[in-house]
Symmetry: C2
Subunit: 407 residues, 2 copies
């Protein structure tokens, strides 16, 4: 397709917030404002739902100053959505696009959003309607395929690494066992980031549990005991998604073991969304296993929660820049004749290469639906820490880590 | 006492960490290094316990670069302690001081630490041993008497305000009811700080509950319903210390109401330290009260936990500077002939005065033991928000709030 079709553009944002999702939005708006092929730039409020409901705002009318402030702000400024559109839903979207002469569709989100974009695009193609669809990646989970890493991950990783660095000093000042539960239902990328501010072997986290490795309670208690014996304290990073070898969530396993109530939804499924359940249960388990006769064994748990994805004012600059560029590239690719795709990043190769990325177009189908776990070589053999390979991979994604000094 | 006595100095840190507790430590070390009256500057590891155990480090040997890094680092670098020394314990301290010719004692902490310092000082005086004791204030709770505000509060307030600002955008992007539990067992100062990044009336937190006002569940449900009806969402700040009119912690009241288990310690007292209990219970309560027939009502709770006191890399610059100066002033006062005291701050007066503080010496007895709640005029009549007076008081304590833009 060498001739660029004229028409309107729609941008939407989807899924859970990140600190830089609006950088991508603003990057795309910048480029769309310049484009001669695009008349109206419509922002869909709350993702696909905004399209269905024709709830659009005219993004060309938003001034530069406001856009810059929005770019700095965490969480989807257009509003997000948890709707997972099926084919009927997507058909409606195509109809609305036809009605409004929308020829360019940009959807910022994770793998589910890439899939929605893919379906919309295919349905448009099938009906002979020319539509250029681009997915713009974002997720704190860093679990999208093809791309080296995901916009949103660097900022969340910076938050988690800084949180652990400060909490580790807290734990050193008032020694005990501290468990911090980090987001990540299926992949351990964000939990792994807890290690990025460590300076030496005494620094926490001393144990890191990611969902890629089946979690054993017996092994856990032994690991904690060993560290505590050696250091007199232990800081632990745990992914919210840890499961046992039978794929049962550990919160559920522990609830049964400890004789605690578990929340169940109307279908009888165990609810794991309680803000502190997993952390509290793990703390109780450790108290029971190691605290006998030691009344003063301090065991505490925190669940970092939404702050990891939405904390304001502490994004990684590199992440901000890359996210912005992903938005720009999506428009550039869409105008260059490529019908559809997703923006991906490739890292400069070579052992001595300075960190930097090259952007490229990926196929929607290669990014949609499935996700990417941590590779096994990023996790140590014992399954309770990351490796140096992971540290080398992740550290450049964060602009700056806090200064930490100690006697 | 006009003649300055020669001898050694001991510094200790106590209680829960803050982001700037080491600024005060380094401020005191700086001045002590310069003092001709002081020979050794001893850092007590883990507060009073380090004194009893004669576990000291020679602080004169620590180089400037390391000290500067330590100043930037959250949580007591010397280690902290939860020991509450009784008279026998304090007598031991005086003996150790006599043994090591310690004539200057600096103790960085909250009201309990001020009390320990007071007792040690009185016991030394009674036994005719000349000792200059200074308490250096620190607490994220901002609940010390005499001083306008406490070092440590500004940084924790900045963290909480930024967390709410980002989480509010998260809540606007994916609307629902969001409850955030903030530290503060007896005073609502830190919970109040959740409001400091609000730009207009639609911004969260929409409801703020502080322990100074008895908490009513019925009123709470009505408040939330009203906000939700108006805005389609509701972000709520709740102090961990909220209690009903009979002074019963709300976590306990709700556990009974909802038929949940509560953790009890060996004395049968309800444990409230579970990381998510209060937030989860409040979320369940709201789901039960408002969620009937609305399967999609999103109700979530986060408990911010230790991050509020220990997050690294995000301190308030003003707070850092004031904390450093408190450390310096303590030494200055101690060398000027004043026998003992606590460092306090007074704010520049006058409606048009630029923010700034003057330091002065307070009496130990006036800072020790009792704490300071939020004054009633800082809380609105309905007891579910702060007032403009509070905002005016607190905003200058934070150097900078994150940029927040929206459509």
């Amino acid at each position: 397709m060498s001739k660029v079709i004229k028409g309107n553009a729609v941008i939407g944002q989807s899924g859970g917030p990140t600190a830089v999702i609006n950088q991508s939005l603003v990057g795309a708006i910048e480029m769309l404002k310049k484009s001669k092929a695009v008349t109206k730039v419509l922002g869909a409020r709350h993702g696909v739902r905004g399209i269905i409901e024709e709830n659009f705002i005219d993004l060309k009318k938003v001034d530069k100053k406001k856009l810059e402030a929005i770019a700095q702000t965490p969480a989807a400024a257009l509003g997000s959505s948890r709707d997972k559109p099926d084919e009927a839903y997507c058909k409606k979207i195509v109809k609305i696009f036809q009605k409004h002469n929308v020829r360019y569709f940009f959807y910022i989100g994770g793998n589910d959003s890439a899939d929605a974009a893919r379906i919309v695009n295919e349905l448009a193609n099938e009906s002979g309607y020319e539509l250029h669809t681009f997915h713009i990646p974002k997720t704190i989970d860093n679990d999208l395929r093809v791309t080296d890493h995901c916009p949103g991950y660097g900022s969340a990783a910076k938050f988690v690494a800084s949180a652990f660095a400060g909490d580790d000093r807290d734990n050193a000042a008032l020694p005990g066992i501290k468990i911090n539960v980090v987001m990540g239902r299926h992949a351990g990328w964000l939990t792994a980031a807890s290690t990025l501010a460590r300076q030496d072997k005494k620094d926490g986290p001393h144990l890191v549990y990611m969902p890629e490795v089946p979690f054993s309670l017996t092994k856990f208690a032994k690991d904690v005991k060993d560290v505590y014996k050696k250091l007199g304290r232990c800081q632990i990073a745990v992914s919210e998604g840890i499961s046992d070898s039978k794929h049962r969530p550990i919160a559920q396993v522990l609830a049964e073991k400890l004789g605690k109530e578990v929340e169940r939804d109307s279908h009888g499924n165990v609810q794991l969304s309680g803000s502190g359940a997993l952390g509290d249960f793990l703390a109780d388990y450790i108290k029971e296993k190691l605290g006998k006769g030691k009344n003063k064994l301090r065991v505490r748990a925190d669940t970092f929660g939404y702050l990891q994805r939405s904390f304001a004012g502490y994004a990684s600059k590199i992440d901000q820049e890359e996210a912005r560029e992903c938005g720009r590239k999506a428009v550039e690719y869409a105008m260059a004749g490529d019908v559809d795709g997703s923006v991906a990043m490739k890292r400069n190769k070579g052992a001595k290469a300075k960190y930097g990325v090259e952007f490229f177009r990926a196929e929607l189908k290669d990014v949609a639906r499935f996700t990417k776990d941590m590779p096994r070589n990023f996790i140590n053999k014992a399954g309770n820490d990351v490796t140096l390979s992971y540290i080398k991979y992740a550290k450049p994604l964060i602009d700056e880590l806090p200064v930490v000094g100690k006697f």
